[in-house]
Each structure stands twice: as C-alpha cells, then as structure tokens.
C-alpha cells in the first residue's frame, strides 16, 4: 500500500478537515458525511485522517479491538490479556461488498479442517472503536445500508446464520463521501452521520495551483513529502489528544442549552438528534480551542455542519441548507459581534 497524503498538506477544505477533527475528538458526534464535486480530495482526506489519529490501546489479537480483556467476545478465545498499541482502524467498506464480509460469517476453513463452528469476523468487527469509511456512499446497495443503520443504531453486530448466534461490539464512526450527482442518500442514512459538509472545487487559480504542486511533490517523493508535513500533523494530533482530555471539563452554560433548542426548533429539524449533535460538536469545538465553557461562537461555527443534513430538504431553496442554517442561527443568536473572534 502506498503512503497516505498528510492531513495537514490538504489545501483548503477547512470545513471538511474541521469536521473530521471534531469527530476524532468526540466519537459520539457520530461521523462525517462529505459530499461534493469530483476531484476535491474527499477520499484523500479520509485516508489522511487515519494516519493522523493517535494510536489506541487494544488487547493483543482481539478481533474487535477491545480495550480490556473483559470486553473481548467469548468466541474470540483470547488467551493472554496483553495490551498493545495500534493505529486507530479505518476500515474501507467497498461497494459491492457482500453481507457476509460486512457482518462476518462462519469460518469455513476451520469448519472443514477442524469440524468447528467458528465465527470469522467481518468488516464491522475490524471497525470497532475506529472508523468505517464508505466512498461513494450513495451507491451502496440498499440491503447493506439497512444493515449498517441497524448496527450503527445499536452499537452491536448481531449475526444469526448457519446455526450460529454471535454478537460483538461494533461502535464505529461512519465516514462517508460521495457525489450527489450520482444519486441521493436516503434520509435515514443521512441522519446517521453526525456532521455533514459540502466540498466544492476551489475557484481561484492560486489555490488550485497549490493543490497541484503538493500533489506533484507527493507523487514524486512521498517519503520526504510526508517528512516535510510531519511536524504539522504531529501538532494537530497532539491538539486532538489534548482536546479529548479537555472534553469532560468543558462546561455547558444553561443559556447554550436554550440556544441549541431554539435553533433546532426554528429550523424545524426532526427529533432530538440534531440538538444533541449540535451540543456535542460545539463542546468538541470548545475543547479543541482550549475553552472551558461553550460559547455562542462555538455554536455558530459548527451549526451548519451539525444540522444542515437534518433539515427537511427544500429543493427550491437555491442557497442550500447550510445557508439556511446560518440564517436561522443568526436570527436566533443575533449577529456575531465583531470582536468575538
């Protein structure tokens, strides 16, 4: 496998990068959906995120990356409780994947050679505590989407087939990317992503030239290019780790709770998921900034990415849903004070 493009070296696309960083700070935000033009580095960014994330501690040999021996599923038959550090898994869910490969299935090899009914874990097991990445998410087969929704909802993968009944933890952050021209996403799936950002091709020559220059440099010599960006990636990684520690300390003032509710009511977004996501994202944003208190500016900055995909789409609104969110946020919170930043 070739080297991955460094996260810090991605030109522009700040919303996309910020959304990814925030979900890395708090996995409970629930993943990112990146929609937009072809050739804007959507996939590059997701793969770069994997390389950026801090390593995690897992039980050696545990197929579902458990942190403690007690969390390992029985069927895995883990002997020792040795803890090792591993990169955060980012599991690719390829289009056209079969259900067996996603959920896991009977281990045919073992069944044949040893006559044992053993479970061969699938992609969901490998993605536990990590990321599940679906490129061209809007092209995913419906029955796989249904399956993912079910697991993402429960945080648990339940396999009932070939006379087996297996369950294991499957808590992962969904990252999807796609091009809306290829087909729309089902609202149920849209809702499952914590954040959603739109990416467009940069429209100024300078930025585009810079994209080309870095890509060229990377293609020519990936190793030295990665070295060049290593310091920045490390700084970002440390900031993410610091923000994770900071997260439980961030306080939520009563009026922020009111603001969240007011924004969601004004937008008419369905259910409570929007409010919760808005709050969690704002908290992650505050933590990333090193603030101990969520402020209205944190809400302002993350409202669009947390809420735009939860609105009833108004296809006649040319401004797009992100603009609608911003408009409502300004109405509810009042205009941003000039000195706020």
């Amino acid at each position: 496998m070739s080297r991955t493009f460094p996260f810090s070296a991605i030109v522009g696309q700040d919303d996309m990068k910020r959304a990814m960083v925030l979900t890395a700070i708090d996995a409970r935000i629930g993943g990112v959906l990146v929609l937009g033009d072809r050739g804007t580095g959507k996939s590059t960014a997701v793969r770069a995120l994997a390389a950026l994330l801090p390593k995690m501690r897992v039980v050696d040999g545990c197929p579902v990356n458990s942190a403690r021996k007690t969390d390992c599923p029985d069927w895995a038959e883990i002997g020792s409780a040795k803890i090792v550090t591993r990169p955060t898994p980012v599991v690719d869910l390829p289009l056209g994947v079969t259900e067996d490969r996603v959920t896991g299935a009977l281990d045919i090899e073992r069944a044949l050679t040893r006559g044992e009914k053993a479970f061969q874990p699938g992609l969901l097991a490998r993605a536990n505590r990590g990321y599940l990445y679906i490129d061209e998410v809007n092209l995913l087969e419906d029955h796989i989407v249904d399956l993912l929704l079910d697991v993402a909802q429960s945080g648990e993968n339940l396999v009932e087939r070939e006379g087996m009944s297996i369950r294991h933890d499957a808590r992962f952050v969904l990252v999807g990317s796609g091009n809306p021209e290829e087909g729309e996403l089902r609202p149920q799936l849209l809702d499952r992503f914590g954040l959603s950002v739109d990416v467009t091709s940069p429209q100024d020559v300078g930025t585009r030239v810079e994209v080309m220059r870095r890509r060229d440099a990377f293609d020519r010599d990936p190793r030295s290019f990665a070295r060049h960006w290593d310091a920045e990636d490390t700084t970002l990684r440390e900031a993410i780790v610091a923000a994770r520690k900071m997260l439980p300390m961030v306080e939520t003032p009563e009026e922020i709770l009111h603001d969240c509710a007011a924004i969601c009511i004004a937008l008419g977004s369905d259910g409570l998921r929007g409010e919760l996501t808005l709050l969690r994202t704002a908290r992650a944003e505050a933590a990333f900034e090193g603030a101990t208190l969520i402020g209205r500016d944190h809400l302002r900055r993350v409202a669009a990415m947390a809420l735009q995909h939860r609105l009833r789409r108004d296809p006649m609104d040319e401004a797009g849903t992100a603009a609608r969110v911003d408009r409502i946020v300004t109405e509810v919170l009042g205009p941003r004070r000039a000195a706020a930043e």
Binding site: S2, R38, G96, G183, V209, R313
Partner: protein, 553 residues
C-alpha cells in the same frame, strides 16, 4: 512522417498511455468496432490489458471463492480478483457501465492499482461514460473519422529512455498556473483534470527528448486531456479568459509562432487549442449524461436495462426461494460446497447434500420508482397571477415528490398544443428553472396536455416507472385536439384522453385552480379515477397539506 493530424493525435495519446498507464489513469477510446480500432488495440496489445465487460461479476473483479476448485478439492479455494492482480483493464462496451462499477474502477485507479483502456461504443446522445471514469481517464480518442490508410508509424516499444527522462521532467509553477487557468476557462471544475494534463505534459516532453516542459507540450497535453472534459457552452461559467471561443475553427490552429506567443497569455492559446479539439457530439452526450444520471441510478445502460422490474443483479442473499425471490443456484452451490465432506454428502453416491441454510436467492436492484407527471395549464384563462400561484403549488408538490425520491416530469399546455417541458428527472434545480421560464397565454388545449401526458406515461411504464398524474388547470378546455377552437370537441377529446389516463395511471390528482369549482373538471377527474381538489386559491402551504395524504398513497 506520421500520417494525418488525427493519427498524430492517436500516436501521441498511445505513446503517453504506454509510457505509464497507471499515472495516466486510462485512455478513453470512442469508436465503433472497426479496422481503426482494431489497429489501435493491436498497438496496445503488448501492455496486456485484461478484458472485462460492464456486467462483470463482483467476484471476478474483487476476488472470492473459486467454486470449481473448491468443489474439486473439498476445501475452500479463494481466487484473487482482477483488481488485486494489478493488471491493466480493458473495459468493453463501457457506455453501459453502471455507477457502482464505475466507482470501484475509479477507486482502483486512484490507488494506482490499475489503468483502464476504455472502449466506448456509445451511439445515442444519452449514452456516455459514467462520470467517475470520465474524471479519471486522462486521454480521449475519437476514432470514428479516421481512415486506416492515414496511419503512420506508431512505436510503443523502446520507451524506457523516455520513462527514465520523464522522472526528471519538472513543471514550473507558471506551467501549473497555465493548466489550471485553462481548465477553469474551459469550465472544468475537477482538479484531477489539470493534474492529469500536467502528467501528460511531462510525458510529452520526455517523449520528445526534453527535460523541460515547453509550451508545445502544454498545448498538446491540453488537447489530449482537457478538450473532451470542457463543459457544453451553456453550462460553462462566464469565460474568464475573455478569449471568445473560435467556433468557426475547423482546422486545428497553426502551431504558435514566436511573435504570436508574445502578445497572448499562454492559457488563452491553450483554451483555443482545446476548443478546436472539442468533440461536439461528446459534449452533448456528457451534458445529457449528467441529466440522465440524476434521473436514474442505473444510467448509461440503455433504456431497457434501466427497467426496475429486472434491473441490475445484486449479490445473492441467503434465503428461501419464493415467487418474489428466485433461487440462485451458483450461490447455493457455493455455500454448500465446502460442507460436503463434513456432511458426508460427497461419498460414494456422489450426492450433494444441501441444507436450508445453503439456499441463496437472486436479487435485483428493484426500486419502485414513481414518476409524477405534472400537467400544467399555462393558458390565458389561467391569468398570469394564477399561473404564478400554480407554479408555487407545483413547487410544493415537487418538494414532496423529492422528499419521497420520486421522479418528476412536467407537461405544459397552452395555445394550441402541449409539450413536455421536462423529461423525467430527479433534478429539481432543473425543474425549477424550466418552471420559472414557463410562459403563459393562449387557449386551453386540455386534451392535448392529457394526451401528451398519457404518451409519456406509456413510455416510462415500459422503463419500469409507475407514473402518476397531477393536473393543475381551471378546466376551461376550449381547444380540441386538432387545434380547433371548439369547446364541445375539446371536452370530448379531454374525455378520450381521460380514458387513456385511467388505463395507464389511475389515482392521480386534479387540482382545480378556477375561481369556482368546475363540475366538468370534477367529472373528468372521476373519469381518470383521480382525486379532485378545488383550490380557488392555490395557496402553496394549504395545497401541500391537502395533497400530502393523497400523494402518499
């Protein structure tokens, strides 16, 4: 030295591709089978591309269990897919590539696992290559106008020196800027395009034995990699280069003279070069393809294949066969095969032991695509203000249709006839544009509107849609089908049309936008088994509330 200019282009493209297929992503050859294409394929044969077709099974592509070997050996034998082997892939009949396959091939190209040799035999305007592939294949060749007799020498061997040189060829920032600006002037949004053009320019310089990219390399690179991506004029953003496209140019422009170059910024010159190379038919097809993609997930496969009832086969699923789900024998055997030893089935009797859990059923992509046909009265009796209200009402219905992922089409009638303003689509932006541009005035040829809708309904049923109708009119039909201003004939024709609609798509909705409810229209709605809804004021929100339960059915 090397035949006609067309063949010179072919030669350059083939040499570039052969230099480093995976860096170039691929080559897109648009041509029917014929001697010219055969010649090109012969030339590329040494690269050893593996031939596939768009209906390739997932397992052949991605790898999976080798059924024959598994049965023979009594243990599971996995086989690598084509993608895992890292070969070049030759994709035949590429215009029929479904989005899922296109996306996977595109991802493989991104990972530099493969390069594609795409054979596109597109005939009609609505056939073209799937967008994810168009974006990643750097080179485009149209062989349809080339004669074999014009062919000069093409040498694809002995490229090692050029390959070594290519690694040294650098691009300056000015070169990059030129390519970026050119792509933008041509309305190309994707950033892959200028990057691939840069690769091509480096390759061309290396092939010419130079260590530096020169303006000629850029120019040739732009012709080979950007021209076919340029958007059709109407879609292109305002021309930033200020260089008017030279529409009359038939001949490719002369090679740049030194003095000519001094006054002209290079990207203007490159834009002109690309425009001269613009394959006009292709642009139309690409534009049509964009619309078609939004229309249907299974685009590019021809109307018949796009049918919902049959559809693209999906991976088989475990399950019991029934009327709705047919047994997939191969998948069932595959599931049963590794068990035969354990079950003792493959004993002396050689009988296969199948268990219920082995059974797999076939699945097809089967979406119940509904098409909402809006039939809109744009006649004079629908005075302008009323028409505006009706438009507002349609927008509400449209957004509901959209929320349910229905397709929509728009038929308008006014004056003496009706027309399909918008063929079936899911692109609401487009619908909205057409709707805004809908002019009003003239007579009320209700029957013409209904017949047009009926014809459309018949067509789309053949493609697997379930059509349903939403008619918005004040019901004052006064133009007969033959265009005569005869109220009685108009009413009679409308009833005839209603009978057809009843057979094709009953259960629609008729919205009476007249100031007072029209009994005739209510009767007509009845004849179509449609819901009749008098809405003297087509207040958008009220309409939405009133219609929602009906349309939800």
């Amino acid at each position: 030295m090397s035949g006609s200019p067309g063949w010179a282009r072919v030669r350059d493209a083939l040499r570039l591709f052969a230099l480093d297929p995976k860096a170039m992503g691929g080559i897109w050859i648009r041509s029917r089978p014929g001697p010219a294409r055969d010649r090109v394929l012969d030339l590329l044969a040494p690269l050893g591309a593996r031939r596939i077709t768009p209906n390739i099974a997932d397992e052949t592509l991605d790898g999976g269990m080798d059924l024959a070997a598994t049965l023979a050996l009594g243990r599971p034998v996995e086989r690598d897919g084509i993608l895992a082997r890292g070969d070049l892939i030759c994709l035949g009949m590429a215009e029929r590539t479904a989005p899922g396959l296109a996306a996977r091939l595109g991802q493989a190209i991104d990972r530099r696992e493969t390069a594609l040799l795409v054979l596109d035999e597109a005939a009609g305007e609505d056939e073209t290559l799937a967008a994810p592939l168009v974006d990643r294949l750097s080179l485009f060749l149209d062989l349809s106008d080339l004669r074999l007799a014009d062919l000069g020498q093409v040498e694809l061997r002995n490229l090692d020196a050029a390959r070594a040189r290519r690694a040294r060829v650098m691009l300056t920032d000015d070169d990059r800027q030129t390519l970026v600006a050119t792509a933008m002037s041509l309305g190309i949004r994707s950033l892959r395009a200028p990057m691939l053009a840069a690769q091509a320019a480096r390759g061309l310089a290396a092939l010419a034995g130079r260590d530096r990219v020169e303006i000629d390399d850029l120019r040739r690179a732009v012709e080979l990699t950007l021209a076919h991506r340029a958007l059709a004029a109407e879609d292109a953003p305002p021309d930033q280069s200020d260089a008017p496209p030279d529409d009359d140019a038939v001949e490719p422009p002369e090679p740049p003279q030194d003095d000519a170059m001094q006054g002209t910024p290079p990207q203007d010159m490159l834009v002109d070069a690309a425009r001269a190379e613009l394959p006009a038919d292709l642009l139309r097809a690409l534009a049509a393809g964009r619309a078609a993609r939004v229309q249907s997930a299974a685009r590019g496969s021809g109307a018949a294949i796009r049918s919902n009832r049959r559809g693209r086969p999906l991976p088989a699923r475990q399950g019991r066969p029934s009327d709705a789900a047919r047994l997939d024998l191969a998948a069932t055997l595959r599931a049963a095969a590794p068990w035969q030893k354990v079950r003792g089935g493959a004993g002396p009797e050689q009988r296969l032991t199948l268990r219920l859990e082995d059974l797999h059923v076939r699945q097809f992509e089967q979406k119940s695509d509904r098409l909402l046909i809006f039939v809109v009265d744009a006649s004079g009796s629908q005075a302008m203000s009323r028409l505006a209200e009706a438009k507002g009402a349609i927008e509400i219905l449209l957004s509901q249709a959209y929320a349910r992922r229905d397709h929509v089409a728009l038929v308008a009638f006014r004056g003496t006839g009706a027309e399909i303003l918008l063929p079936p689509t899911r692109s609401l932006v487009q619908t909205r544009k057409r709707l805004a541009a809908l002019p009003g005035g003239g007579g009320t040829p209700l029957a013409a509107g209904l017949f047009t809708a009926a014809n459309l309904a018949r067509q789309v049923r053949g493609r697997g849609f379930t059509p349903s109708l939403a008619l918005l009119t004040d019901g004052r039909a006064n133009i007969a089908l033959d265009g005569a201003a005869d109220r009685q004939a108009a009413a009679r024709d409308a009833r005839l049309a209603a009978a057809q609609i009843l057979a094709l798509c009953p259960g629609g909705i008729v919205i009476d936008t007249g100031r007072r409810p029209t009994p005739d229209l209510a009767a007509l709605a009845d004849a179509m088994a449609a819901h009749y809804l008098p809405l003297p004021r087509a207040d958008a929100a009220r309409l939405g509330r009133a219609v929602a339960p009906i349309m939800a059915g």
